[in-house]
Symmetry: C2
Subunit: 476 residues, 2 copies
């Protein structure tokens, strides 16, 4: 195995190395598309399982809509087509013949789903309509990186329709809160939340709410978005209902989604110099057992003991891997499982066996301790919870210590170049003004804070008085 | 709600009605593609959950490969491209520009996956390689029917590579047995199994094993296939390994899959004059509660009782729906839930309430019985198991009584036209001979039996002596 590029030396190269060496994904022979390898896919499955339960608990039902969208559908909403048309893959031939109308491979499914909704919704009794879809989508990207930005990616997209703006806004918030909870509870990731600036708003939405995590290189990474679509698509696709008074109105809509980008988010937010670090709840393997022996006799005895331990831990709900490979040294295995981010490694050698002990190594802190075999059934599940909590605490400390303030664009640029992280500032500028900041600092507005400034401040660029607080950062 | 076409009168129309009236799926605005509605998708999710656990228990890992396949990949294996090229959807433009090489939307993933395997497999230590993918695939079909044949469908495709032919054949059998077990245990469907004739073998496979169920109209329906690919793709994609003696060999491969067609299979195999019938284990709703009342006072008391019953049943692992809609009559609801195939309906009216009883109606037998409320926590789970077993028994009796014998093609035609089902016969014909039978009778060989005739018989068409036993049927 080649050596992992130090994170501190070249973060992008470190990321590439981790994706490859931890066996998460690889580039395919199709430009911009990745192959998600079993270990990477298992992380995604754990995210799916957790999030799907949250989605269902909110009364949202899963369904499935076509991969293909007639090109004419996409053009019905002007902002939407402007945003997505340049990124589309287009099917022009089917069954050997040229199609009368080209089909677009969905870059997102608003248009095909809302055409359907126009037939599903007639009365207030059909509302709210709460649907989610797990699917693949395709956006023709120029520069791609596994998980973070790929031409094809996997995601869920929620699409809801409501009788009033208030109800729709409540749903936008519910979905955002759901992502925040998942980020914290499953992924041990604290996030900042707020609205996007107009420049970064979803194409066709009234506004976009976002969750923003912070990568270890000090860049922000968008980890899930929830959009108020208002009545824009309802009007473009003629989705109307008769209300309780018999009047016909357009519905109010939302959409919200997270993607396989979350796997990349885990890597950049939790990874360290030894590779990936996985929070236990999302880790496909929570505990790896590595036997250490020289003689065949020791091998037999240790294998027996560790085999029993696998049973015990599995019976206590722990996802365990017993690394019995006999062509690799223990040291090589330690290194591999550290790169793969397994939260706990248990080692057992002849001396441990004599004492009925094992050595327990934590991936989050690198601590190693001996523990009696008899305690493991309860100690390991407890330790997994402790690691989960500690990783959240570490990430919170990092995030909190990475939020800075600046009074001028120059000061902001200096902070972002030297330390990274977020810079919060008063802002009263336009989209063009945001572009000026981006050209000068490479940073964009990541969120507009829900909490306005307690007293009015001076916009960092325009000098105008404002109570609007925004967070700038360089971003993925 | 319009009336369900009688099954006995027009089976295809009955099928369409059930799909629509049970809210399973609908045609989309994209030719041949369906929208899978929440109720239909929930059935598919239950199939996925059950099958995914079986797949993982066999040590097979999930992964994900690109949606797009470079056209040149597809052409590397001559039989494969001949089989699939006419059905492909082709992407010619991406990001607004014409592509240097067109991309095919995967009709099946052998080629893109095996190109990857050529890099993953080097040594005997990399084998067996056991991978499964849950994905959407596209085949440009002329005539489509929701679930049974659609341009886009959802499926799982297993792709394995082994060091020897024996191991690969064991895997073909294991996957087939897994499908047989799922069919019986989850879907209450007995199936016939065996090899396909050459004419019906997967494009590129050495041989194809299949599971064949029997629809209520007497037609066979293929419910899952498992292919021995041999070394054909290994040679086309150069998948080689160094064996323990240091010699380089091509791997032996299998692939196997089931699709959303299974939902259609459930409909045609279990449905009756009242609509869909769902085996309890795969039913999204196992028990529906319908209150019957005239006065507000009764409504309040019955709603309270049934609300408590929901809690009780859910605590016992039952999937329950309390139909509280107040704009529909009980009779209307009964009809709807029968069409939707819910295994048990529980009714409670004022008189039932007085006696602390409910009326329990079975969907499988149409029996109605009063039961004390106090017994339901244990009686309902037991009854669900009884219904599951009874539906399997009914399907087995139907299958067994639908297997006929014939000594001549004329006799076979007569049986198939009058009764449907399977006709078993001795067979020594070629693919051309099978085409002759198909032209005369509309039937094809559904399986070649694993058990040869105990003494040689005479081929039903050619008159040649043979011990090969085959099952003919008209098929979906």
């Amino acid at each position: 195995m080649s050596k992992l590029t130090p994170q501190s030396q070249d973060f992008p190269k470190w990321y590439q190395d981790v994706v490859q060496m931890a066996d998460l994904a690889e580039h395919s022979q199709v430009k911009g598309c990745m192959v998600i390898k079993p270990y990477g896919y298992a992380i995604w499955e754990n995210i799916q399982k957790d999030l799907d339960a949250r989605i269902k608990a909110a009364g949202v039902q899963n369904a499935y809509f076509p991969l293909f969208i007639p090109q004419s559908f996409l053009t019905r909403e002007a902002n939407h087509v402007e945003g997505f048309a340049p990124e589309c893959a287009t099917v022009t031939h089917g069954g050997g013949k040229e199609l009368a109308e080209p089909l677009v491979v969905r870059p997102t499914s608003e248009t095909i789903i809302y055409d359907t909704y126009s037939r599903w919704v007639q009365s207030y009794r059909d509302l709210p309509l709460l649907i989610n879809q797990w699917a693949n989508v395709v956006r023709w990207e120029m520069r791609t990186r596994p998980f973070l930005r790929t031409t094809e990616f996997l995601w869920q997209e929620g699409h809801t329709a409501h009788a009033s703006k208030e109800e729709a806004e409540t749903e936008v918030k519910r979905a955002l809160d759901m992502y925040v909870d998942m980020d914290r509870e499953l992924l041990a990731l604290p996030v900042l939340t707020g609205k996007k600036s107009e420049k970064e708003t979803f194409a066709g939405a009234d506004y976009t709410c976002t969750t923003e995590a912070l990568a270890r290189d000090g860049k922000a990474i968008q980890a899930g978005t929830s959009h108020l679509l208002g009545q824009t698509f309802a009007k473009a696709f003629d989705i109307k209902f008769q209300d309780e008074k018999g009047e016909v109105q357009h519905v109010w809509q939302t959409s919200w989604g997270v993607s396989t980008r979350m796997v990349g988010t885990i890597i950049v937010c939790h990874g360290d110099e030894k590779g990936l670090r996985l929070p236990p709840r999302v880790a496909p393997i929570q505990v790896v057992l590595v036997p250490i022996f020289k003689t065949d006799e020791d091998k037999i005895r240790i294998t027996q003991e560790l085999g029993d331990l696998v049973q015990t831990l599995e019976a206590h709900g722990v996802r365990v891997k017993f690394d019995e490979r006999d062509n690799l040294s223990p040291g090589w295995k330690f290194n591999e499982w550290e790169i793969k981010g397994v939260p706990i490694r248990i080692e057992m050698g002849p001396r441990d066996l004599e004492k009925s002990e094992v050595v327990v190594a934590r991936r989050d802190t690198s601590e190693k301790n001996s523990m009696p075999m008899a305690d493991l059934a309860s100690a390991i599940p407890d330790l997994l919870e402790e690691i989960q909590a500690n990783m959240l605490k570490q990430a919170e400390e990092f995030l909190n210590s990475s939020i800075h303030e600046a009074d001028s664009v120059e000061e902001m640029k200096k902070i972002l170049d030297e330390k990274g992280g977020f810079v919060k500032a008063a802002w009263a500028g336009s989209s063009d003004d945001e572009k000026i900041i981006q050209d000068k600092t490479k940073a964009t507005i990541r969120i507009i804070s829900d909490e306005p400034l307690s007293k009015k401040g001076t916009c960092i660029l325009t000098g105008k008085e404002t109570d609007q607080l925004v967070y700038f950062a360089k971003a993925y």
